[in-house]
Amino acid sequence: MKLLRLSLNLMRRDWQSGEWRVLLLALVLAVGSLSTVGLFADRVREGLVQQATSLLGADLRITSTRPFSPSYRETARAKGVRVVQSREFPSMVSHREQVLLADILAVEAGYPLRGKIVADDGLGGAESKRLLPSPLKGRGGDHEDQSLSPLPGTVWVDDRLMRRLGLHPGDELGVGARRLRVAARIVRDIDQSVGFASFAPRVLMNELDLAATGLLQEGSRMSYRLMFAGDAGAVVALRAALEPVMTGNEKLEDVTDARPEIRTALERAEHFLGLAALTTAILAGVAILLAARRYVARHLDGCAVMRCLGAQQGQVLRLFLYQFLLAGGLSVLAGLLSGYVTQAMLVSLIMPDSTLPQPSIWPMVKAAVSGFALLAGFAYLPLLQLRRVSPLRVLRRELGAPEASVWLIYGLAGLVISGLFLWQAGSLKLGLFVLAGLLVGLPVFGALAWLLLKLLARHASFFTSHWRHALNNMVRHGRSVAVQVVALSLGGMALLVLTLVRGDLLDSWQGKLPADAPNRFVVNIQPDQRVAVLDFFKHQSVPAPELLPMIKGRLVAINGRPVSGEHYPEPRARALVEREFNLSYADKMPVWNELVQGKWWGGKQDSGFRNQDSANSGQLSVEEGIARTLGIHLGDTLSYDVAGSRFSARITSLRKVHWDSMRVNFFVIGTPHLLQDFPASYLASFYLPPDKLRSGDELALNFPNLLLIDTGAVIAQVRAIIGQITQAVSAVFLYTLLCGVVVLYAALLATRDERMQEAAILRTLGAEGAYLRRLYLAEFAVLGAISGLFSAASASLLGWVLARHVLEIPYRSNGLVWLLGVAGGLALVMLAGWLNTRRLAEISPMRILRGE
């Protein structure tokens, strides 16, 4: 208790010293930026999950071509989970003399369980709202914000149907034997917002009218859906209860089957944001290390006295640990608060209309733990030095600080940082990259700085006296100058990445999804339709897409061992094995795929000769994610059953698929030799400009068997995520920027005491104030130029890592980084240095020597 009081007393008296300011500020900024990113990403991720459930219309959905066992509903009700059923089938609908094939969805009351169907009165004007039936009219106020489904006797229809049949609200639509009144126009349907709109226009009707239509006899083409929603725990329990009793043709879906394009974009965004926050953490670590070093240096004498007065090593350590823990706790709290406020502001600024869920507590816990890890990693070992101070220092002041192993200090710091990378960025590769970068890069920078100074000092005779003096001074303090260079380089790197590299990277990322990225998929083109479809594109002046073959096959064996869903406890793996794979074949690997293991067929062999044979044999290339899910590896042999005939082939390559490319992607691609003789249909992706939307309708009319999928909504969402993240990155980098400034301050503070002593001695020996000022400016100029040079080098390196491994875009180096690095480093360090030392040339030397 006494020790704690003494410790707090010491801290209170020390509060004015610069180290505490640096330490607190650095930690607040690090925790602030980590929690901002964590909370923000958490909310966006949760928001997406919510959105995904609204795309599904439920938390869980079973689809089948046959009616469900009534026990499913009973099980769900027993678990307190809500259930509705919908039935979907194609049927002709009529208005006056015209008939049209429509996609009819008959729903029970309560549909959809999650999300909403946006519908309006079809006239687009608020005046005509009264045409709507009362339940639709009354809710929410805004006529585009309704979420009920049609009442008995009415239908809601989509715009295409209204256009093609010349329908108006209030008109009657013939559905089978019944005539139903058109009550609303569907603006956005549940399934359409996922991007999958079938070719036929949609008619939404009440299930109670279904029997009267007489269409139930056409049950063979009926698709049944049972939808569930409830508490997360109950839904999980329901899933577990249903899975064992489901029949083979029943398919279960939940939000984990959400669009991979959006997931990928979000993952990249999280990585990028995470890296920005971790850059702040590194800078904070550097500032903490510098502050801790100065703190230790200032307290060596005091510790020696205490040791002399009988303090044991553990007591000395505890005395200082208490202070660091208290300061750490306070700054972590302040950091969390600032992080919470920043993310709240961020959300309200860049997504003003969003109703994102509140974040969970975990990002805060994670940021707090990271904050303490930074403190432990960067301040603990320097503090240990205090414990080991020799009491003899009271007699012989020349005894320096006990040498803590430099490797141990930097090793622990590096370990903490890479641990944080691993934990926060969730990538082992990135963590190791950073660890290697820090462990190799920083000592190399330090050593290079020292060598450069030596070289300059050797030729110092070329310079005027204050420059000569400055260079010699810096060489004499080689080690602390090297530390300063390393710290300033890191700070400068953050600033450069913030100002230049970030813009370039984000532009390239946005450029990855160009304005004419494919927004339509067309599926089910038969071999004999290929020419006609391509001709159609030509006539419509829409650039013809590449038609890719697709063969449906079921995976039956891996390495000769038969496989079935039962072998895979994981639902996703089981679903993959139980349903048919879409296989394709190609000579060349799609350019938007990336080879990660093995070799593409027909490529150059080691001997340098093109090996045509390899393309003529049976080989498979598999997407790496699915390979991992199914536990298959390069060199394994897969056997497929395609329409009753079997084939086997070896996996010779694994590919990474960029899902956010919005192109057609296949999990498994084979050599043409292997697959071209199997029955195939073709599919393609293409860009349909807004002024050519009718061409889509025409395509559907001319080729009724084709399925046209609208991915525009997904693209818009990916674009929106990228746009929002770009703004979020700027906010997070503001923390990095501030932390860079703290590092600059800490680096200058680190040598301030020494400088003061020197200044006093020089002034006593007759140096004028002007000479001292010139001397310091010269030192800061050299320091700034070298640090600026290193900043530019490390900013380019970081830019390359971000481009290549996070955003997966090509890296373009920017010459301006080097120019701005050196010039900016020079100016900034000289300015900060001047501000820091301008009084040294004025204070009376006696005051400094007396330690006042």
């Binding site: 020790l3 003494l6 008296r13 205490m306 002399c308 007065l309 009988g310 007699l395 006042e852």
Partner: protein
């Protein structure tokens, strides 16, 4: 009287470049409880090194020191610290006050490290013994050199040490202030019956001690 400090064949060698340099050579002597001993010698004669070894602040190359019969160098660093805290007080040439703590807090420091309950009262009393009650809450940088050394004396005596180690206690003070400090130190020494081991190059100061030990180039002469 019993022997309180025994130096037994104390030697200290350090490496100067690649060559071993002998700072102390086979120094042996005994100090009795309550005795005062001055260690005299020119700069570099090894007197501060000897003081460091006697107080257990440093380790010898060979030989040992016994405090109240207990071998110092059988103990580890923490054991020696404990023994120092229990037996000794220190006064240094450069005062060695903690700049962040007030005069009173500096005096309280050794008591607080030992977990003594009435640290504040004892420290206040000790400060008044050296005539500094009115300056109790001043920081060292606001005290004169003489005042700082008096705070150091209060800190040394507040633990009622059996042995006081003093290293050139007047070295940083002018003659008049130095004389006052020395008077005060001998007075406290006498009133508490403390054993005094004093390092100095000042013959007159050494003359006030009961015994003198002269060092020349690391040997007792």
């Amino acid at each position: 009287m019993t022997a309180i400090v025994q130096a037994v064949s104390l030697s200290k060698q350090v490496l100067s470049g690649e060559l071993p340099l002998t700072i102390l050579h086979e120094v042996s002597f005994t100090v009795l409880a309550g005795e005062s001993l001055a260690i005299l010698g020119a700069s570099g004669s090894g007197k501060s090194t000897l003081l460091g070894l006697l107080a257990g602040l440093d380790e010898p190359s060979s030989g040992t020191v016994r405090l109240r019969g207990e071998d110092l160098f059988v103990l580890n660093e923490d054991g020696r610290a404990r023994l120092r805290g229990a037996l000794s007080g220190f006064v240094f040439q450069s005062f060695q006050l903690l700049p962040a703590l007030s005069a009173l807090e500096n005096v309280m420091l050794p008591l607080e490290l030992q977990g003594v309950a009435d640290a504040r009262a004892r420290a206040t009393e000790s400060l008044s013994q050296v005539g500094l009650s009115s300056r109790a809450h001043h920081l060292p940088k606001h005290l004169s050199g003489g005042e700082q050394q008096r705070v150091a004396l209060a800190r040394a005596f507040v633990v009622r040490p059996k042995i006081l180690f003093a290293d050139e206690p007047t070295g940083n003070l002018d003659a008049a202030t130095g004389a006052q400090i020395v008077d005060l130190m001998f007075e406290l020494n006498r009133s508490q019956g403390t054993t005094l081991i004093l390092v100095t190059h000042d013959e007159s100061l050494a003359g006030r001690c009961a015994r003198q030990l002269r060092l020349f180039a690391g040997r007792v002469v």
